[in-house]
Each structure stands twice: as structure tokens, then as C-alpha cells.
């Protein structure tokens, strides 16, 4: 095993994981909502990117916003349908509804895009960088840079802008926010639209690394869970470092032990976290 190569793989994977999970982190931290259709939204983002590039023949730079737009639409529709449940904070029903949406997306994507695997090629994924015996693609570089920029902008928006303040207020106390004249419904719809856009962006950047299938999305969900648990609920910075840690863990586990069981291993890490410090996790906002 080449240590430096695995380190690079781990860092790239880590940024991919952080980006995949960020929608959920914000959803949970800002709106105290969950989305079990997250993995299927990732799948949809990847397929919209693929369709735009290889079927419509449009440039990758057009495909990325197209995928994000599709993500926004799906997120908005989803939240629109379950708005009453959200206002009642009926998390049990919300979980099942989002799971149902994921299943619908899965069926719809198979109907539209077919059930065969596809390769999502971008102009950057074909450009290799060799550095001694180390290897990565420009797609990997773009992914890391985009993730870092995305996290910096997001952190700034949540902490220092009016939009961020409003969202945080709704998360803290929805009835009070309502009294303060904030349109709570709009915030919920906005947060879900953001979740859709974020996961679609992640898909457009990460999916070129592996073949894509309409049945995929489950590994991404586990990754998201682990990042959210490790990083602390709703913590943007926490989920960045958790993503990075998970990426490194996955790269080394895959190289040293077995690539087939990386998801299972990541899951065991999460269980260990939950058992070792259940109080810390259970006491976090949103886990009521």
C-alpha cells in the first residue's frame, strides 16, 4: 500500500463525504428536520448531470446548475407536501414520508433514465495529475476546492447574515419566530430547497468518481448519518472535519482490510460513537 496515495484518496473522499452530508447537517441543525430520501436525491443529481452532459451534449458547467435546480425542485415539492407535518413537528411521519419520496424518486429515475449503469464523464475527470507515483484527477481537485469554498460561504451565511439569523431563530423556537413576524413556512421550504441543491451539487461533483446506477444512494445515506453523528448535529464545521475523518478512515480501511465492507465499518464507528457518548448526542437539539 502506498501511504501517500491513500492519504490523497482519503482527503478527496473526505471532502466528498462532507459535501454529500452538508444538506442533512443544515436540515437538522437549522430546521430540525430529517430526510431519508437524501440518497435518492443524490442519485437524481448524478443522473441529471449525466443526462445534461452526455444526452443533451451541454457543457459540464451548465449541467451542475441544472442538477442543482432539479434538487431545489424536488426539495421544494417534498416540503410543500409535508408542510403540515413539519409545522406539527411530527418527525415520525416526516421520516416515513421522506422514505416514500425516496422510493418514488427511485422508480421515476429508473423509468426515465433506465436501470443500466452509466459513466458520468466530465472534462475534468479525464485530466490526470501524476506526481511521482501519486495519482489524482482534476475532478478530484475541483471537488476539494468546491467543498472548501462551499463550507466557508455556508458558515458565513449562517453566522453573519440576516438569512442565517432567521433560520437559526426558526430552529430555536418556531412559535416565537412566528410571533416575531417570520414566515416560518418559507424558511422550511427554503431549507429543504437548499438541502436539494446541496446534495445535487455534491452528486454532480462526486458521482464522476464511480459508475452511477438508479438503485444507488444507500452508501451515501450511511455516509451522511456517520458524518452527522460524528460532527455533532447541525454543526457545519463539525461535519466538515467529520467528513474528512471518515474519508481518511474509508481510504485506509479499504486499502488495509476490505473495500467491500467499508460501509459496514463506517457504520460500526457510528454505533460506537452513539454507545460511548449517547448523552452528548441525545441531548443535542433536534433529537428530542
Amino acid at each position: 500500500m502506498n501511504l501517500a496515495q491513500q492519504l490523497i484518496n482519503g482527503i478527496v473522499l473526505g471532502h466528498a463525504y462532507a459535501l454529500i452530508a452538508i444538506g442533512w447537517t443544515v436540515l437538522l441543525g437549522v430546521a430540525r428536520l430529517v430526510n431519508f430520501g437524501h440518497g435518492q436525491m443524490y442519485m437524481l443529481g448524478a443522473f441529471v448531470t449525466w443526462y445534461t452532459v452526455s444526452r443533451l451534449g451541454l457543457p459540464y458547467l451548465v449541467a451542475v446548475p441544472a442538477a442543482m435546480l432539479a434538487g431545489v425542485a424536488v426539495g421544494y415539492v417534498m416540503q410543500r407536501v409535508m408542510l403540515q407535518l413539519t409545522l406539527k413537528q411530527d418527525l415520525v411521519s416526516i421520516m416515513i414520508v421522506t422514505l416514500g419520496f425516496g422510493y418514488v424518486l427511485n422508480g421515476a429515475a429508473a423509468l426515465v433514465f433506465g436501470s443500466t449503469g452509466q459513466i458520468l464523464e466530465t472534462p475534468l475527470s479525464r485530466l490526470d495529475i501524476y506526481w511521482g507515483d501519486l495519482w489524482l484527477t482534476w475532478q478530484d481537485v475541483a471537488l476539494v476546492v468546491a467543498a472548501i469554498v462551499f463550507f466557508i460561504v455556508l458558515k458565513y451565511v449562517i453566522d453573519h447574515t440576516a438569512v442565517g439569523r432567521t433560520a437559526r431563530m426558526v430552529a430555536e423556537d418556531p412559535p416565537l419566530a412566528l410571533l416575531a413576524g417570520i414566515n416560518v413556512k418559507k424558511v422550511y421550504l427554503g431549507v429543504f430547497a437548499f438541502e436539494g441543491a446541496a446534495v445535487a451539487l455534491a452528486a454532480a461533483l462526486v458521482a464522476p468518481r464511480t459508475p452511477i446506477l438508479t438503485s444507488m444512494g444507500f452508501d451515501e445515506v450511511i455516509v451522511t448519518f456517520v458524518v452527522v453523528v460524528l460532527g455533532g448535529i447541525g454543526s457545519v464545521l463539525g461535519s466538515y472535519f467529520a467528513g474528512l475523518a471518515l474519508g481518511l478512515f474509508t481510504a485506509f480501511f479499504g486499502a488495509l482490510v476490505s473495500p467491500a465492507y467499508t460501509t459496514a465499518a463506517a457504520f460500526l464507528v457510528m454505533i460506537a460513537m452513539l454507545v460511548l457518548r449517547p448523552g452528548g448526542f441525545a441531548a443535542a437539539p433536534g433529537s428530542r
Binding site: 407535518l85 421520516m95 416515513i96 422514505l99 416514500g100 422508480g107 423509468l111 457504520f267 448526542f281 433529537s287
Partner: protein
């Protein structure tokens, strides 16, 4: 109605149910659908206890279903055991798995509990698909037909398997009925609806949840056990989301805490898929949409919808009948 008469009526209806597939034409397709409805209904009842009574969502019930099926397949093909022994094995394994999962998640509530159970289901699928011991991606083939020599039963076809499936369904229905009247069943509802009152009444919510988890897992596993004989092979596809969505939809479709709710729910979904199918992908969209629509717009399920329609009709009728609303309606 006198209790004896009531019992006789229930027994008569239950006995009549055995002949339902024959009355519906008795073709192979009808028997297949009937067997699958019975098996999937049993599967759904396991989850029904958790969702309807306890008010939480376990997404790991596909794992118990798969454990039941894999236990039957492994014990039958590798050790040559008969259905009774494999059922015992399936139940023991499911209880052990539920105990481990239940203890680990004991302190987790609501969505964290669901999140972990969902993760368990996803990870179980990757393990089942990769572990050679469980047959890997090929699964396990060549499960012998369901045979009970003392009863002279050898089920080569779905028609021959139907009495077994129906029997399992009746046992499950009885179990659900007894559970809802039991102390544990009452405790579950109290924990669900009023946790503080439950604690004050000396009920430990965590203990109750663990007990119900241990009771519900073998029910779903028993369904998996029979499904293995029905299909004569098992593979990692048992852990697919389909079974989870099917379970959840059947539990919420008709209405919660109704004894026959999940059975009717499963039957509606299976009849649509077997006899009025629009193709696999569209069926997926239909099933997922039904789940979404029921939860988002019909919190009381079809029964709740029926009730509000009846109430609406009655109110209309009353307002037409007399311009002065009577005292009762004002009070409503």
C-alpha cells in the same frame, strides 16, 4: 352479543377464510397472491406493533425478515432440518438480533433510533451481498419444499402451501389481538401517548420498548421463514427497500391500531401489483406515492377518511333538514 356466539362467529369466519382463494377462482395466480398476502401481512404485523402501538419507526424490520428467511434457508439446505426446527432457529436468531439492536439503541429516541435502524438495514444488505457464508450475491438456492410428514403435508405449489400461510396469519392475528389486550400492549400505548403518565404509573418506557422490540422481531422473522420456502431461494434482495416500504404502507394505509388494518393494506397493495400492475417502475411510484399521500393528507388512513366523509355527509344532511342546528351539533 354473547361471548360464546361471538367466538363461534369468529371461528366460522376464520374457517371460511381458508377457502377464500378457492372461491376467487382457485387458479395458480390467485393462490400465489393469497400466500404472498398472508406472508407479507405477518411481516407487516411485526412492524405494526412498533409503529402503531409504540409510536416509533423501526426501519430494521427488513433485517428480521431476512434473518428469518436466511435461517430457514441455511438450516434447511446445510443441516437438512425440517420446517419446525428452522422456524425455531429463525425465531431464536431474530430475538438475539433484536436484543442486540434493542440494547444498543435503548437510549436513542425518535429519529436517531430510526436513523440507526435504517443504517442497520443498509449495512445488512451489503453484508448479505458480500459474505460468502450467506451465499454472497448469488444467495442460497435449493431450499426443499415445505414438508410436515406427520400431517402428510408436502407443499410443492402455492395452493399446497396456502393452509400453512393462512395458519401462520391466523396465529399472528391472535397474537396481535392478545398483545393489544395485554399489560404490555397497554403500557406501549401509554408510553406512546403520554410518556409522563406512563412513568408515573411505574412503567419504564425504555424497558417497554425493548420488550416490544423482542416480541415484534420474531413475528416478522416468521414471515421471512415461510417466504424462504415459498420462493425456494433467498438472496440479499430480501433487504431491499421494497419490503420496508410495503410494510410501512400497509401499516398506515387503512388506519392505525386496527386488527385487520395491515392485512387489508397488504392485500390492496399486492392485488394492485399482481393483477393491475403498471410495470415495475410505475408500481414503485404508486406504492411510494400512496405512502406519502396517506401520511401527509390522511392521518387516519382510509378508515379515517371514511369517517370524516360520513361525518361531512351527516352534517350536510342535518343542515338541509332543519335551518336551526340542534344542540348536539353546536356542541360538536
Amino acid at each position: 352479543m354473547a361471548p360464546a356466539l361471538r367466538l363461534a362467529l369468529i371461528v366460522a369466519i376464520a374457517a371460511a377464510g381458508l377457502f377464500a382463494p378457492a372461491l376467487l377462482g382457485g387458479t395458480g395466480a390467485v393462490y400465489s397472491a393469497a400466500v404472498l398476502i398472508a406472508i407479507f401481512a405477518v411481516m407487516a404485523y411485526g412492524l405494526d406493533m412498533i409503529v402503531s402501538d409504540l409510536g416509533e419507526v423501526s426501519l430494521a424490520h427488513t433485517v428480521f425478515f431476512a434473518i428469518g428467511a436466511y435461517a430457514a434457508a441455511m438450516l434447511a439446505t446445510r443441516l437438512g432440518l425440517g420446517p419446525v426446527a428452522t422456524l425455531l432457529g429463525a425465531i431464536i436468531l431474530a430475538v438475539v438480533a433484536a436484543a442486540i439492536l434493542g440494547v444498543v439503541t435503548l437510549r436513542l429516541k425518535e429519529f436517531v433510533f430510526s436513523l440507526v435502524t435504517y443504517a442497520v438495514a443498509v449495512v445488512a444488505m451489503t453484508v448479505a451481498a458480500n459474505w460468502e457464508f450467506l451465499g454472497g450475491s448469488d444467495g442460497l438456492r435449493g431450499i426443499p419444499p415445505f414438508t410436515l410428514a406427520p400431517l402428510g403435508l408436502r407443499a410443492e405449489t402455492d395452493a399446497q402451501l396456502w393452509p400453512v400461510a393462512y395458519g401462520l396469519l391466523l396465529v399472528t392475528l391472535y397474537l396481535m389481538h392478545a398483545f393489544r389486550r395485554s399489560r404490555l400492549g397497554q403500557a406501549a400505548v401509554m408510553v406512546h401517548l403520554n410518556p409522563r403518565l406512563a412513568t408515573m404509573s411505574g412503567i419504564d418506557p425504555k424497558r417497554t420498548r425493548l420488550q416490544i422490540f423482542l416480541l415484534s422481531a420474531p413475528v416478522t422473522a416468521a414471515a421471512g421463514w415461510l417466504y424462504a420456502y415459498q420462493r425456494s431461494f433467498v438472496s440479499a434482495d430480501l433487504l431491499e427497500t421494497y419490503f420496508l416500504i410495503l410494510m410501512l404502507t400497509s401499516v398506515v394505509l387503512v388506519g392505525r391500531r386496527l386488527l385487520l388494518g395491515p392485512l387489508i393494506g397488504v392485500a390492496l397493495v399486492q392485488i394492485q401489483e399482481k393483477f393491475f400492475s403498471f410495470g415495475g417502475y410505475v408500481d414503485k411510484i404508486v406504492l411510494g406515492s400512496v405512502l406519502v399521500v396517506v401520511l401527509a393528507f390522511l392521518p387516519g388512513g382510509l378508515v379515517g377518511l371514511g369517517r370524516s366523509l360520513v361525518a361531512l355527509g351527516r352534517r350536510r344532511g342535518e343542515s338541509v333538514a332543519g335551518s336551526m342546528p340542534d344542540v348536539r351539533t353546536v356542541k360538536d
